[in-house]
Amino acid sequence: MIAYLFRRILYAVPILIGVNLLTFALFFVVNTPDDMARMQLGIKRVTPESISKWKQQHGYDKPLLINSTASGKDKLTDTIFWQKSASMFVFDFGYSDDGRSISREIVTRMGPSLSIALPTFFVGLLVYVSFALLMTLFRATVLDVAGVALCVVLMSISTLFYIIGGQFLVSKLWHLVPISGYAGGLDSFKFVVLPIVIGVMGGVGSSSRWYRTIFLEEIGKDYVRTARAKGLSELRVLFTHVLKNAMIPILTGVVVVIPLLFLGSLLTESFFGIPGLGSYTIDAINAQDFSIVRAMVFLGSVLYIVGLILTDLSYTVVDPRVRLA
């Protein structure tokens, strides 16, 4: 297991370098350091001198990838790519182009993002699996057909509709929770309850249908027939046998997203005024802040790799036949 983990971590290094290089190339194909300076300095009264001063101060006055005027290792290290990327491998994200510490910003914003993402994830998982099991339990009945139809309807509605509709009904008409905003500690409850409910609702259609398909596939297998033949109740069959054996496909889709929960949700956070990480990357792209963009893409990649490793580890927990070597 240790050797496996070590190998996977080693694989991650070239992947992260590749992601970094790709982000760098894509960003600088669209934006030049001059564009970035202009974006930061505003529209009015921007002089060529102030642009070159900004570039020099922020380290964007160097060549992009290869410094042909330098010698030795400086050819590679005295470049924008090296200066902006190397430190990230020790999780030193540096400063955004407007001078703020990126690490500090991530830590500050992570809490509000998690306060919505974690409950949405766990409550959602519970609801989706329960609903899927319910449809499986009543398969080929009116309830099943109605459940599937409901799933299709829910899947077809955009998340934005849930958000605006939810805000209109629950907050505007019924005055049950604030329309938007956030507070720390226990006070956050009234602010996060609606985004969580909407987040869960938004996923009911697709997730429940997917889990229903998995359960239906399992339910036709021999071990289920054997369990029934032993006289077990249908509920017991479903919960102790089918659910357990359906865990591998469920985990494949679920565990990998757990680390990514840190990154928040753009739409939900924007509409509900949650000060999370959801909009951090998008705002940075709009502001052409490369320092934030590369940090967030790097962090996203690391978390995704962590998610994949966790998924593999989780297989060994739910299926004793799986060995990581």
Binding site: R45, T47, S171, W174, P178, K190, G276
Partner: protein, 706 residues
Amino acid sequence: MKALLLALTFLSLTACDGGLWNDPYPAADEGKSILYTAFTERPKHLDPAQAYSENEYEFLALIYSPPLQYHYLKRPYQLVPLAASEMPRVMYLDQQHRLLPEKAAPGRIAFSVYEIHLKPNMRYQPHPAFVPGNDMLKPGGLRGVYGLNDFPETGTRTVTAADYVYQIKRLVHPQLHTPIAGVMSEYIVGLKEYAATLQDAAKAHPDDFLDLNRYPLPGVEVVNGTTYRITIHGKYPQFAYWLAMPFFSPMPQEVERFYAQPGMRERNLSLDWWPVGSGPYYLSENEPNRRMVLARNPYYDSENYPGEGGQGDAQAGLLSDAGKPLPLIDRIVFSLEKETIPYWNKFLQGYYDASGISSDSFDQAVQVSVNGEANVSDVMKAQGITLSTSVSTSTFYTGFNWLDPVVGGSSERTRKLRRAIAIAVDFEEFISIFANGRGIVAQSPIPPGIFGYREGCAGINTYVYDCVKGKPERKPIAEARRLLAEAGYPGGVDARTRQPLVIHLDTTAGGVGNKSRLDWIRKQFDKIGVQLDVRSTDYNRFQDKLRRGDTQMYYFGWNADYPDPENFLFLLNGPQAKASKGGENASNYENPEFDRLFEQMKNMDNSPERQAIIDRMLEILRRDSPWLWGYHPKNYVLQHQWLHNIKPNIMANNKLKYWRVDPTLRDRLRREWNQPVRWPLWLGVGGVLLFGLWMWRALRKREEAR
């Protein structure tokens, strides 16, 4: 089920703290003198040497005290002292530094000296930088410090003239990006050389704190504790307007030293994030992802509500607080609202005290009478909401590139082509469709409220409009077709090449959201048979094209720095051409006569002579038509009945200090409007219980059947 019941119980319990269920603010804030407002984008800079945007000034104008400000009530806009005890005394000197009379010809004036006397005993906001020793913390002195509130002690001190001088020096600090450094270097004596001196000093000792006081700047001088002088080249009356901007606020050097210490930057403790001023408020909370809070500066006692105003202000109740110490509100809470829908709904629920109107909500909020007068709708009236409108000191225009061979240049042919297009593009229709009537058609670059603007027939662009019953009436489209034919494009076809005339418009507008606007503008050109090719591009490319002079037509706007015609007419001044000189004249327009008159006009005081020159300049512009003059937008602001002393003031960014709220009325109405509707909760719980029961029975039935 248990979780649902728990959640309901928790919701009920949290609602029992006395607050309303949907109240986004703590119940403890009820009854307090707090103004609730919103911001849509976090300010990039809060350092007064670097900030220049409107959303930054919204905060800075309340935190800092420059020498001057705009009178809140009087119109036209008028400068009055803020930190200064009186308006600056201006002395004019000739080349030999001999005093000249006040009425001396501008050509004789080599220097203008502004002597500024400050009010005595003004003090800074409480801040740890004023605690002795905090500018030289020991290593590890920042352990446990993550924000300014983590410092155990704060202090203050009296504002001095030296602080104002220090801030002027900061305008060319090598580590700061001051947008007006270029302009000021042209005027303030010695500032350009001072910038070079600082640059050299910073290069020589890159790791040291750059002590600006070690380097004298000849153009600024501390006379005594409350008096300083600024010497500028020539005569530049507009300089007084700059003195009303945060660029000229006081900056205590110990604050810069405090923030320059190791470890501060890592904690996001910087002057750009935590400003330190002597204004009516200070920034007590800075979480721009959520909210920013301004609290009353306990040491601010230098200003009272104005005792006189404009016509009708007394009747409107705007003088009822005359003489009261400012500010009238204890705290201002700015919440981040990125989306318009939540913002609007929270305003209607009473959780914001004032609001602008987005296009989506316009019909709900405003009704326009047959004579074009805007009033709040009946629904708003029932809530006691009122509307204030004002024409902003900005302009949105479509420019022709003077360097383009088809539409640019001063030949009669291109002039006629531009005039034909000007008649065809119906901005009245544009305002009606896309701005809900919130704007007035521009007759020149100068908006109403700025010296040089003329009302009625005298101010009409006679090349595009006829004056009918004192009002402008757009010339018929036949006139545009005639001009087009005379320009060599009868029916929109080039008479020489027989090719249809295609004109390219560069704009940053694109995507589905702007499709209707772009379709509309194409339709306007269709009216005279000219094809319009809209080239939507991102902002960087657009700017790049303008810089290279690589456009034919482009869409742009300008927001005034100060209420003077010079600040609009310089946008068409030849020496300011963008392509050749990197200036702000994006059309690269050049007319020697206009440029000569501009030089003459720009340094004059407002007078009938200045008006006459501006009239001549506007006539040249209208004849040459380098822009489609476009429109000046109107601001519509809705406010609740508990908000008082509201008078639109486009120039003053510090107007919130004059506002007053009635928190008792606000709390009562909020309660009336926001009582929770509980039945959906019980219906939901009942539904879940019934469904559970039904399922349980169905399961039992199933098991029994097996």
